[in-house]
């Protein structure tokens, strides 16, 4: 039985929710013309989307589990993967599913309230042997926890992540892509959110040559809430792509998607796709999605596509916004008129731009680290841009 059957959802004719399949034959090699691939530089994926072997093990995964949280690596065949209802929606995901030999299962017991983050550090030891991973995070009923996945080093990495937030649980799930410049990372994430449960999903994407992160969320009960926050910073030549999909499968659910990105340098490219589907049974839902891009130099390009499909007339609210702009001269003038040198003024404006998302991450150590990372990114360029 599929999740749709379990929830007795009405069928939807929507390109927003492709039929998933575990069978690789159902996922032909993309040509780049497909809607879901048209922004991605396939040539730079090192054949992850074709037939590159995914058996590489040049990476290390280190887990620091907070007290009370269990983290075990389970052979794929014996694992609980699929618990989120996820079925691979594209070829890379289907290939990663087939290739992963183990599943890292992180479990937060029911009713456990754990402030300390659980961190999973994925360290890439080289780009030549592509690898595949699978992570399953389960937050038990009424639990409260923070899980952080921290990527660094060099890798060619295809990955599936499943997140199950059971009834009444509150989970903050963070990914930090702090890869070296040569990494390629294609990750598909799916979260399912229980009755009155809350997921705060945070994506921070700074490094890598190509990062493509597709994240979807649906709801298993009424009153569930998903917040997806994203911060990205693309430098010269980098391709950073976030594809978000909030699938309102239950009444009175909420989704709030807010991504902000900055771009600098020749051929820095970011893509943000914000899809929201409000199904017939999803009455009284509230959704908002926004994406703002700050283009710091010439030669950089931000694509931003919000997309809302509404199948019911009875919603509480639905909105979206997308902006792409350069430095606002008025901001710079105001700050400079108080004696603040231009370079410093630009840095203040960029930090300010990201600030309202960063301060909502809710993990202080992470917020500080992120502010420092943005400072490092800025050190490269902002000082020498002409207005």
């Amino acid at each position: 039985m599929t999740l749709a059957e379990a929830l007795e959802l009405s069928p939807v004719e929507s390109h927003l929710h492709p039929e998933g399949s575990f069978d690789l034959a159902d996922h032909p090699v993309p040509t780049g013309l497909e809607e879901i691939w048209r922004f991605t530089p396939l040539k730079r994926l090192r054949d992850l989307h074709q037939d590159a072997p995914l058996g590489g093990d040049d990476h290390t995964i280190e887990v620091v589990a907070a007290p009370g949280v269990t983290a075990v690596s389970v052979p794929a065949a014996e694992s609980a993967r699929g618990a989120s209802g996820y079925v691979p929606v594209d070829r890379v995901s289907a290939r990663a599913w087939a290739a992963a030999t183990t599943v890292l299962e992180v479990t937060i017991p029911a009713e456990a309230v754990i402030d300390e983050p659980t961190t999973i550090r994925v360290h890439g030891g080289g780009i030549d042997n592509a690898g595949a991973g699978h992570l399953l995070v389960r937050a038990g009923q009424f639990s409260k926890a923070v899980v952080v996945v921290d990527y660094d080093g060099s890798a060619t990495w295809a990955e599936n992540i499943e997140v199950v937030v059971e009834d009444g649980a509150q989970l903050t799930f963070v990914t930090i892509q702090d890869w070296n410049d040569d990494s390629v990372h294609v990750v598909t994430q799916h979260a399912t959110v229980g009755r009155d449960a809350e997921l705060r999903h945070v994506a921070i994407s700074l490094g890598g040559d190509v990062v493509r992160a597709s994240t979807s969320a649906d709801y298993r009960g009424t009153g569930g809430s998903v917040e997806m926050l994203g911060v990205y910073f693309a430098d010269a030549g980098q391709h950073i792509e976030h594809r978000l999909f909030a699938d309102h499968t239950a009444p009175r659910t909420k989704s709030n998607v807010e991504y902000k990105g900055a771009l600098q340098g020749q051929d820095a490219h970011t893509v943000w796709i914000g899809n929201v589907l409000i199904r017939k049974e999803a009455e009284g839902i509230l959704t908002y999605e926004s994406n703002d891009n700050l283009v710091l130099t010439d030669g950089a390009k931000a694509d931003s596509v919000p997309n809302l499909e509404i199948e019911t007339g009875d919603i509480e609210g639905a909105g979206h916004a997308s902006t792409t702009g350069r430095f606002d001269d008025q901001h710079l003038f105001y700050l400079q008129s108080r004696g603040i040198p231009e370079e410093e003024a630009r840095r203040l404006v960029v930090h300010g731009f990201f600030n309202d998302i960063i301060r909502r991450i809710g993990v202080p150590a992470l917020q500080e680290r992120l502010v420092a990372s943005i400072e490092d990114e800025l050190a490269e360029h902002v000082g020498r841009i002409d207005a």
Binding site: F333, Q336, P341, H351
Partner: protein, 256 residues
């Protein structure tokens, strides 16, 4: 004593139809210890003068000079002018999302003084400056001008004036949009600043109302991009009684 001297200043803005001259030869000298009021009708170029002094990129200087103690400021960047001792309280202060007032003020103070203010006294100074203009100290944690009411923005400008304490302050319609209590608060702030003695004020206003609280030494009538008349405080009374009509007519005839 310091002197801000504006000589035969010509300024254009770029419009779709080409360059449009807004300032048509402005002469004005302000010395520290003096309060000058500039009064004029809407669209006469008062804000253009203020922004041109501050260095706003929208305005093109096509002739004339502006000097501070003989030093050309027109060749300086916006921030260099501020560090040289100029301050502009804006008619429409700009909202800067995500930058807290506290961070903004500390960064500005550090830039102006060339060194970071002493942490312990600085927080007190900021709170006191906000309190003097009746802004709650919570404002320090808010984003610069974001969501501030019109009056709060103006009071925030005056708090900055007091904290940064420049040599010369250009106040562009700081009185507009203020209720009578806020007008008094703002005027008190300007008076505290100018009462230091060695500070100069260029007070741009459309109405005489604020001149009940701030006593100018000189009044300049600004019409059609020029100083059309000047005199002592009594000129303000005359404007109050008769308005700008006679100057506007004269300017229209002159250009006809």
């Amino acid at each position: 004593m310091a002197t801000l001297e504006i000589k035969d200043l010509h300024v254009t803005v770029t419009t779709e139809e080409g360059e449009k001259e807004i300032l048509k030869g402005v002469d004005l000298t302000v010395r520290t210890g003096e309060v000058h009021a500039i009064m004029g009708p809407n669209g006469s170029g008062k804000s253009t003068l203020a922004y041109s002094i501050a260095g706003h990129p929208k305005y093109n200087i096509t002739g004339g000079t502006v000097t501070l103690d003989g030093v050309d400021i027109l060749s300086m960047s916006v921030d260099e002018r501020a560090r040289a001792g100029l301050f502009l309280a804006m008619q429409y202060p700009v909202e800067v999302p995500g930058v807290s007032v506290a961070n903004f003020l500390r960064t500005a103070k550090t830039a102006i003084d060339g060194e970071a203010p002493k942490l312990r006294t600085w927080v007190k100074d900021v709170n006191a400056a906000l309190e003097r203009v009746t802004l709650d100290k919570d404002f320090a944690q808010r984003s610069v001008n974001e969501g501030f009411s019109g009056g709060e923005k103006k009071r925030h400008e005056i708090a900055q004036l007091e904290l940064l304490n420049p040599k010369f302050a250009v106040l562009d319609e700081t009185d507009s949009g203020l209720d009578i209590d806020a007008l008094r608060v703002v005027s008190d702030g300007v008076n505290r600043y100018s009462d230091q003695g060695d500070r100069g004020v260029l007070l741009i206003t459309h109405y005489t109302r604020i001149l009940r609280y701030i006593k100018p030494d000189y009044v300049h009538v600004f019409v059609a991009g020029r100083v059309a008349d000047q005199g002592g405080p009594e000129l303000a009374d005359e404007l109050e009684a008769n308005g700008y009509d006679k100057y506007v007519k004269a300017a229209a005839e002159a250009s006809a």
